[in-house]
């Protein structure tokens, strides 16, 4: 294995390109994330944010360039993909909880069938993380019985149960009623404070200011700007970023 | 006809109550809106905001108390309901355009079948209002071919074609992508500036500050606070309002 120290542990994109048919959705995307770093990704709709972070755990294939996660190259080898997925947890916009399983079962399914953890141990760990996101009392309910905010916190707990090194968030609060956004962001902030490596696609600029080490702004498949949040919000370098911020912060 | 001068022209709720089965969704709601006034209604999910404004044009029935619109009591008399609906236009969260009709037909249907306006005249008026919301070029398309923001502007134009004295908006921007919210709000602001009487359920606090004469805050079927936006946002009197604002304005 080669690569710098950071890439050895964190994430490294090197001139990653991806097309959907004719459309060039990722264009020479290059950046790296050191262990413990927190990155916020923003940009207009369709700019490729989701596609980019979904390439990290190979939910999408990239066609050129390399992606390394903890030194392992993300390519079409089953073993590599499995290794990467073990290290990377992901939280989706629509929660994607398993609606046919209770909260507790949601949190134990992967532990038991991917890791082979015995039931009692899996449940104990699930309860630990459900407490961590402050909803242990909902463990026996089904996702449909929970509010959106609670569901998203379960989704976070479910990912944490696999004890990943890195967490990816794809607009985790944008499907939530405004009232429920806060509770999810709080959970994410406390995760960040514990030193988890995080990449988060979001338009919650308050969160970005509070937590992010770096904001990456994407447009039309390119990284347009990458800066510390204080700089990015007060003094964006690029015209495109400025326009975007003015629309978001009306 | 009785009532104060304001009620003669505007809207007056007097101890209005409504139940769904056991659930008491409107509790002694009393307030009035003078002609030309702009009201923003906010409050947590399920607090009865939609129910309240839908009572105004009798999309919902109230069970106790009286509602008057321009001096006409809203009760189960067909004539009264028709009179009220002629004065009141409404815009919905999900646009509710007729999917099988073109934009132009959407705007002329009610004119022709309610008012009996001749086709040419109806179309001329429709085009006028479509220009007003800045999408005259989409007139021949179907709703499914437009973006959400465009659809909502069509919905506004469709209501305006009936030349109502009062416009009701029920979360007109909450089904829109963040980028598309602005164009709809702009349209609403310009309507407000022209002096239209408006009641608008929304969580867009920027809009409320800019336009509203009064903010009404509802919780659990009651009006908890009713104040000028400057007072409401900077210094809410009620504990419940404060909590809500802290959640909204994170």
């Amino acid at each position: 294995m080669d690569g710098t120290g950071a890439a050895e542990q964190g994430i490294a994109f090197d001139r990653v390109n991806k097309w959907y048919g004719q459309m060039h959705v990722l264009q020479d995307v290059t950046f790296s994330v050191a262990p413990g770093e927190k990155i916020v990704v923003c940009g207009p709709s369709g700019s490729g944010k989701s596609t980019m972070i979904r390439c990290i755990n190979r939910l999408e294939e990239h066609q050129a360039g390399t992606i390394r996660v903890g030194g392992v190259e993300v390519n079409d080898q089953r073993r590599n993909i499995e290794q990467v997925r073990r290290r990377v947890g992901m939280v989706f916009q629509n929660f994607n909880l398993y609606p046919h399983l209770t909260i507790l079962e949601n949190c134990t399914l992967a532990q038991r069938w991917v890791r082979g953890t015995p039931r009692a141990e899996a449940e104990a760990r699930a309860m630990r993380y459900l407490e961590r996101v402050r909803i242990p009392d909902q463990a026996r309910k089904y996702p449909g019985q929970l509010s959106g905010g609670q569901q998203q916190r379960v989704a976070i707990a479910r990912s944490l149960c696999m004890e990943p090194e890195i967490m990816l968030f794809d607009e985790p609060t944008s499907a939530l009623d405004p009232e429920l956004v806060r509770e999810v962001l709080d959970t994410m902030v406390s995760l960040a404070e514990e030193g988890m490596t995080m990449i988060c696609v979001t338009h919650e600029m308050g969160f970005a200011r509070q937590v992010a080490d770096r904001v990456i702004f994407m447009d039309r498949g390119r990284i347009v700007e990458s800066a510390h949040p204080d700089d990015f919000f007060s003094n964006p370098k690029e015209e495109r970023s400025r326009l975007f911020l003015s629309q978001i912060l009306h | 006809m009785d009532g104060t001068g304001a009620a003669e022209q505007g809207i007056a709720f007097d101890r209005v109550n409504k139940w769904y089965g056991q659930m008491h969704v409107l509790q002694d709601v009393t307030f009035s809106v003078a002609p030309g006034e702009k009201i923003v209604v906010c409050g947590p999910s399920g607090s009865g905001k939609s129910t309240m404004i839908r009572c105004i044009n009798r999309l919902e029935e109230h069970q106790a108390g009286t509602i008057r619109v321009g001096g006409v009591e809203v009760n189960d008399q067909r004539r009264n309901i028709e009179q009220v609906r002629r004065r009141v236009g409404m815009v919905f969260q999900n646009f509710n355009l007729y999917p099988h009709l073109t934009i132009l037909e959407n705007c002329t249907l009610a004119q022709r079948w309610v008012r009996g306006t001749p086709r040419a005249e109806a179309e001329a008026r429709a085009m006028r209002y479509l220009e007003r919301v800045r999408i005259p070029d989409q007139a021949r398309k179907y709703p499914g071919q437009l973006s959400g923001g465009q659809q909502q502007r069509v919905a506004i134009a469709r209501s305006l074609c009936m030349e109502p004295e009062i416009m009701l908006f029920d979360e007109p921007t909450s089904a829109l992508d963040p980028e598309l919210v602005r164009e709809v709000l702009d349209t609403m602001v310009s309507l407000a500036e022209e002096g239209m009487t408006m009641i608008c359920v929304t969580h867009e606090m920027g809009f409320a500050r800019q336009v509203a004469d009064r903010v009404i805050f509802m919780d659990r079927g009651r009006i908890v606070e009713s104040a000028h936006p400057d007072d409401f946002f900077s210094n809410p009197k009620e504990e419940r309002s404060r909590l809500f604002l802290s959640q909204i304005l994170h």
Binding site: - | R54, N57, R58, L59, E82, R85, R86, V88, G89, M90, F92, N94, N96, L97, Y98, P99, H100, L101, T102, L109, A110, W113, V114, Y142, P143, G144, Q145, L146, S147, R158, S159, M162, L168
Partner: protein
């Protein structure tokens, strides 16, 4: 194995075409009647008049819960004991109509149910009265959403006309089976009628899809 005797097929062709003519004739009449009956039945079903609406529901459930073949026998052999005697042809039309209209009632009803409360809200807020709302807004939207299952039933009517061979209606399948009983050329006959049925049914389906696409144009994605 047997080699296909094209000459035999050619000789049987006029007979087959006569059978096809009968198939189409019976189906066409049944489609027409069943659509009308379906509309009427659906109107009763949603009329809000309890006994009528329950009666329609019972009718739909019963027809959908019993084999079509037995229904045909009942119409053809059973009804005469009740005093209704119809020719084979009209028995066939009646049996097909009874069957198809039950399915039409159900798909029209589902179509109506698919027109959400939202359209009602929109029309009410614009002051549109009941009748224009029903005719100009609800009906077009409901019919469009009922179209796929309606087409399915229409095509099903043509297919089910093959059952009528069992009461001796000389339609396409009958012709084939009859010839097989005399000449034992099953390969040739089945090949012929399968191709004919496929052409007719795919043809009608294609027409239906075109209609569907036409009506769907307004909903085309942007």
């Amino acid at each position: 194995m047997t080699v296909i005797d094209w000459g035999y097929i050619l000789a049987a062709f006029p007979d087959l075409m006569r059978g096809l003519g009968m198939t189409l004739m019976v189906s066409l009449l049944a489609i027409l009647f069943s659509l009308l009956l379906g509309l009427a039945g659906c109107a009763l079903r949603v009329s809000g008049i309890r006994p009528l609406s329950y009666a329609m529901r019972g009718y739909v459930e019963f027809i959908r819960g019993t084999p079509y073949l037995v229904q045909i026998f009942f119409v053809f052999y059973g009804l005469p004991s009740l005093g209704f005697t119809l020719s084979i042809f009209w028995s066939g039309v009646l049996a097909l109509t009874i069957w198809a209209s039950a399915f039409h009632i159900e798909s029209f009803r589902a179509g109506l149910a698919s027109v959400g409360r939202e359209m009602h809200d929109a029309s009410a807020s614009l002051g549109l009265r009941r009748l224009p709302h029903a005719l100009l807004v609800v009906a077009p939207i409901a019919l469009r959403s009922a179209l796929p299952s309606t087409l399915n039933t229409v095509v099903g009517t043509i297919k089910n006309s093959a059952y009528l061979q069992a009461i001796g209606l000389v339609e396409l399948t009958f012709v084939a089976v009859d010839r097989i009983a005399q000449d034992f050329r099953s390969t040739e006959m089945f090949l012929s009628i399968c191709v004919i049925y496929l052409v007719v049914i795919l043809g009608v389906s294609a027409l239906g899809h075109r209609l569907e696409r036409r009506l769907n144009r307004p909903y085309g994605s942007r």
